[in-house]
């Protein structure tokens, strides 16, 4: 059974606001009317140990797809299972299994240290996350030596690194990464590539990586999915998975 399985997934968003004459406007403020499709009958599967890239232009539906997989959005049609569990019926259980990196580096407490922030998310993750796991995640993104510094003192690129460390906590079986290399220098982009390859090929995680950068997907992923205006145009095998990728990740 594939670790991630998507069948006939469709998602629509509101197209505009209801007119003031609509009673719903007065009840709940700006009420939506009309719908535009964000995802249209998407089908694909990702096996354990596979590193799959989702590529497409802005507005293609990449982030929407990732959010549906992460249970942050409910699908309007179709079926999505993660590790055999339906994302609608078993949302909490699904979230225990995934490590998610969102495009915004939000949710960290500025007055807590990097270690404390990760301890907080480790406690909420539903997976066992001990102190070695936190140092492993910080080491993987090159922040182990700054573990006791405050989050407020981090620059944009380092905040991005910490977001990746949060996704790696507790060695999740599924990694969902949205634009992980955005706003980071080339050295760290290489490091991300190593971390992601290591997670997929050595630790057996199913990794779905979203990016608008085709080169990044081509260089990094085993397979790529091309989205265009909510439709899956085609899936391409980029290269065969390496048997055991050399790892730059410590721990």
């Amino acid at each position: 059974m594939p670790t991630i399985e998507v069948r006939g997934l469709s998602k629509w968003f509101a197209a505009g606001e209801a007119p003031h004459s609509d009673w719903r406007f007065w009840l709940a403020g700006r009420r939506a009317c009309g719908q535009i499709p964000a995802l249209r009958e998407i089908d694909f599967a990702v096996e354990a140990g596979e590193l799959v890239g989702v590529v497409g232009a802005n507005g293609a539906g990449k982030t929407t797809l990732l959010r549906v997989l992460a249970t942050l959005l409910l699908p309007d049609a179709g079926e999505v299972t993660i590790g055999g569990l339906d994302v609608v019926e078993h949302a909490a259980e699904v979230r225990r299994r995934i490590g998610l990196m969102l495009p915004e580096d939000a949710g960290f407490a500025p007055r807590l240290s990097l270690r404390s922030n990760l301890e907080f998310y480790g406690a909420l993750s539903g997976r066992y996350v001990g102190r070695p796991d936190i140092y492993y995640a910080l080491d993987a993104v090159g922040l182990a030596e700054r573990a006791d510094e405050l989050y407020a003192g981090l620059g944009t690129g380092h905040r991005r690194r910490l977001s990746l460390a949060r996704a790696l906590l507790g060695d999740p079986r599924i990694l969902l990464l949205d634009e992980p290399a955005r706003s980071v220098d080339s050295e760290f982009a290489e490091r991300i590539a190593d971390v992601v390859r290591h997670a997929a090929h050595s630790r057996g995680a199913a990794v779905l990586l979203v990016s608008h950068d085709r080169d990044e997907i081509r260089n990094l992923c085993d397979r790529s999915l091309l989205l265009h205006e909510g439709r899956l145009l085609h899936a391409t095998t980029v290269r065969k998975p390496a048997a055991a990728a050399p790892s730059a990740v410590g721990g």
Binding site: K11, F13, A14, W26, L27, A28, G29, R30, A32, T64, R67, A70, T71, L72, L73, L74, D76, A92, R95, R96, I98, L100, L102, E104, A106, G107, F108, Y121, L124, S125, G126, R127
Partner: protein, 240 residues
């Protein structure tokens, strides 16, 4: 932390002094302030902190939603109700600290309850605190559902506090006001706190506690359903 404590203490002191001054103004024609102070202070202190908890937790949710933290938190294994309670616990902690400081100040002024009234007041505070958490969850759900629903919920909250009888005896008002005040939990909180504080007969206090327990039994599942429903709706609409 120390300066936060200082501000909690200052806030509690200002509230006690404000109620004391209000009592003096109300009772000036009669000549004494103590009777009205003992009538108003316990209920008003409790309700002001309950309102502060409800408003602060709804504000925390709105802030988390605006800066993207809500999405980050919802990607963890925490449930919507767990998240709502977590957001309410920070203001709840400060609410309990403020109540503690208010009690210390009242003790310094020689107007704090003593003897068996202390555990009675504690039971009332715990029950009221649990109800306040449920009301905070309802306010958070309302804030997720839209600005107008949140505004209506706030209006209901302030009407409920006004009709609780914390500031004035309800006996002097029309029967319709009595019925309206019975339909909201704040009257039971105000009555229980006043009875606990003044050492009134046990039967009346037990009746007020029973009312609080009933409110808690009603509000707990309702607030849980409201939070689950509100989060399901924002996940459907993509506005998390």
């Amino acid at each position: 932390m120390a300066h936060q404590m200082f501000f909690f203490a200052l806030e509690a002191a200002l509230l006690v002094v404000a109620i004391w001054q209000m009592a003096r103004l109300v009772e000036r024609p009669v000549g004494g302030a103590r009777d009205y102070f003992f009538f108003a202070a316990p209920a008003l202190l409790l309700l002001s902190f309950v309102v502060s908890l409800v408003l602060s937790s709804a504000a925390a949710l709105r802030r988390a939603r605006a800066d993207g933290s809500l999405e980050a938190l919802m990607s963890t294994a925490v449930t919507p109700t767990g998240l709502g309670l977590g957001l309410a616990m920070f203001p709840a902690e400060s609410m309990l600290l403020r109540l503690f400081f208010a009690y210390c100040l009242a003790a310094l002024l020689g107007v704090a309850p003593r003897g068996w009234e202390v555990p009675a007041a504690l039971v009332t505070v715990i029950l009221s605190f649990a109800i306040a958490l449920c009301v905070a969850l309802l306010a958070e759900a309302a804030s997720l559902l839209g600005r107008r629903i949140f505004a209506a919920a706030l209006l209901l909250l302030f009407c409920g506090v006004a009709l609780s009888g914390a500031l004035f005896p309800l006996a002097a008002l029309p029967p319709a006001v009595h019925v309206a005040s019975e339909l909201l939990p704040f009257r039971a909180m105000a009555d229980a706190m006043r009875l606990s504080y003044s050492g009134a007969p046990g039967a009346s206090l037990t009746q007020s506690w029973a009312a609080l327990v009933l409110w808690l039994a009603l509000l707990a599942p309702v607030s849980w359903l409201a939070m689950e429903g509100a989060f399901r709706r924002v996940r459907r609409h993509g506005s998390l």
